[in-house]
């Protein structure tokens, strides 16, 4: 069978909707269009019922005890903001210290930076070389003024999984609220708010084959009950945590995506791990001087393969494989001209950060696609290295770190 181009291998950026999700959503745009907050007629009741059903589906996926603990938002960025600012502002009298990690998503880091400008103190932990935070480092960073620890389940760039269970045990014992940005990991790896002692968790529908523009914040209601100051003022929807008319159709789709993930994630994860292993095998068997960024299994997202191809700049690589959608930690892909802050926090050489490519495999990728991409990347790496002065110097045995480069 001929391969169909372009190939999508950027599932960490977003996923297509599962057709079963779309099908479930459709009636809620037309016949079942009611406002879930309308208490006075059947249109409203119907929408409310659909929303509550989705809430249960999502609660089940993450092991929440009550569906009342799910607060719908516009996505995970809003959920992160609501969690962090909400806790900071509610518990301000109790303390002013927050702990997070340098490799968190910008929705967490920039929220923390904003809080710093209003007088909070934030500790940004440095992860190990494999991208994982050590539970002991969290423990050591705790003070009697600490009110929140915010750490992600899985890193979006390198796929490393933080030891959430161990950290949850520490924060629970210390009586500190634990927020987990679970966007990349929910529906892909084991995640259970009860056994992991997570108090707040951000989730996004479009990373798990649901629609864009909808997400949720899990807010623990019992042992301990977590309180938030809402960001959005208005009609007092979502138990006062998030005002605004609910996006019924998307919420229904989100719920369906969660239900499908509950049933299928283990099988999908195994298949993705096999595909990723196949790609890795291909690259490592045919190329020298390539490096894995992030952790090895079992501490890595099944679909993530982040590789630095030394002597080849990431954007040039993406151009060379233009029929394959991937992403890069190269500076050239950002407006800032700085390479990935995640890779730099891991201590990856700046040069290798510029040379990194993230392959994000997902459930619609096939073995044929993986083989095609593997062959193409091998061939293009060789072509670009023939064009690279650094590769030539490397072959001549010159240690690139001994050269005095003119900065520009």
């Amino acid at each position: 069978m001929a391969i169909r181009l372009p190939i999508y291998m950027d599932y960490a950026a977003t996923t297509p909707c599962d057709p079963r999700v779309v099908e479930t959503m459709l009636p809620y745009f037309t016949e079942k269009f009611g406002n879930a907050a309308s208490r006075s007629h059947g249109f409203g009741w119907e929408a409310e019922e659909a929303v509550e059903y989705a809430r249960t589906q999502i609660a089940n996926l993450i092991g929440a005890k009550s569906d009342k603990e799910i607060v719908f938002t516009s996505g995970a960025t809003e959920a992160d903001n609501l969690a962090i600012k909400g806790v900071a502002n509610f518990y301000r009298n109790k303390g002013d210290h927050i702990i997070t990690c340098k490799t968190e998503h910008k929705a967490v880091l920039d929220t923390c930076k904003r809080l710093e400008r209003t007088g909070f103190r934030v500790t940004y932990l440095t992860p190990a070389k494999d991208g994982r935070v050590a539970p002991d480092d969290v423990k050591r960073a705790l003070t009697d003024k600490t009110i929140l620890v915010s750490l992600m389940l899985a890193n979006n760039e390198i796929g490393s999984l933080h030891p959430i269970r161990e950290i949850g045990a520490i924060t629970r014992e210390a009586g500190v609220v634990f927020h987990c940005d679970a966007v990349q990991g929910v529906g892909k790896v084991d995640f259970d708010v009860e056994s992991m002692n997570v108090d707040l968790a951000s989730i996004s529908a479009h990373k798990m084959y649901g629609p864009k523009g909808v997400g949720a914040l899990y807010v623990r209601r019992n042992k301990p009950r977590v309180r938030l100051v809402a960001e959005m003022d208005g009609g007092g929807h979502e138990r006062g945590n998030r005002s605004g008319t609910l996006n019924t159709a998307s919420i229904v789709g989100f719920g369906k995506a969660a239900a499908l993930a509950s049933l299928e994630w283990r099988e999908d994860a195994q298949r993705l791990m096999r595909l990723r292993q196949r790609l890795r095998q291909k690259l490592w068997s045919e190329l020298e001087e390539i490096f894995l960024n992030g952790a090895d299994d079992p501490y890595r997202l099944p679909g993530n393969l982040n590789v630095s191809f030394a002597f080849v700049e990431g954007e040039a690589m993406m151009m060379a494989i233009k029929d394959v959608a991937v992403s890069s930690g190269s500076a050239c892909t950002s407006a800032s001209l700085e390479p990935s802050y995640v890779l730099r926090a891991l201590g990856v050489d700046t040069e290798l950060a510029h040379s990194s490519i993230r392959f994000g495999l997902g459930k619609f990728n096939t073995e044929e696609e993986v083989d095609y991409v593997g062959d193409l990347v091998v061939q293009q790496t060789k072509r670009l290295r023939e064009m690279s002065p650094l590769y030539e110097m490397h072959q001549e045995g010159i240690d690139l770190s001994t050269i005095r480069w003119a900065a520009h």
Binding site: F311, V312, E313, E315, A316, M319, S330, A331, C332, T333, A335, L337, P339, D349, T350, E351, H354, E386, M387, S388, P389, L390, Y391, E392, L400, W405, A406, A407, H408
Partner: protein
């Protein structure tokens, strides 16, 4: 980011990729940029010492598509030019020819630096030889 057709054309069929003998007295080598910045260009020219005309030019570049295209274009341009003509080359000409967006202007600056540095290297070699002969 969308690339101009000319960038893609040079990137896919780069002209004059390769290496000249840097020990040759008639070869000038310019190595500019830094791996940590994500761009390194090496541009080499072979000059006829009698006429001062660039007879051959080669490059190798570590960098994005625009950096590769800029260096490829420059090697094409300097061939057949006198050193003074080559020295007068401006990065704005590269920007214009390749339709580089603002975020890629540094690629053209680097290419200008590379050719200047190659010419300077050649001239240094020549004067060192002259001194040695005297």
């Amino acid at each position: 980011m969308a690339y101009s057709e000319k960038v893609i054309e040079h990137y896919e069929k780069p002209r004059n990729v390769g290496t000249l003998d840097k020990e040759d007295p008639n070869v000038g080598t310019g190595l500019v940029g830094a791996p940590a910045c994500g761009d390194v260009m090496r541009l080499q020219i072979k000059v006829n010492p009698e006429t001062g005309v660039v007879e051959d030019a080669k490059f190798k570049t570590f960098g994005c598509g625009s950096a590769i295209a800029s260096s490829s274009l420059v090697t094409e341009w300097v061939k057949g030019k006198t050193l003074d003509q080559a020295m007068a080359l401006k990065n704005s000409q590269i920007v214009e020819e390749l339709n580089l967006p603002p975020v890629k202007i540094h690629c053209s600056v680097l290419a200008e630096d590379a050719i200047k540095s190659a010419i300077t290297d050649f001239r240094k070699k020549q004067s060192a030889r002259k001194e040695a002969a005297e």
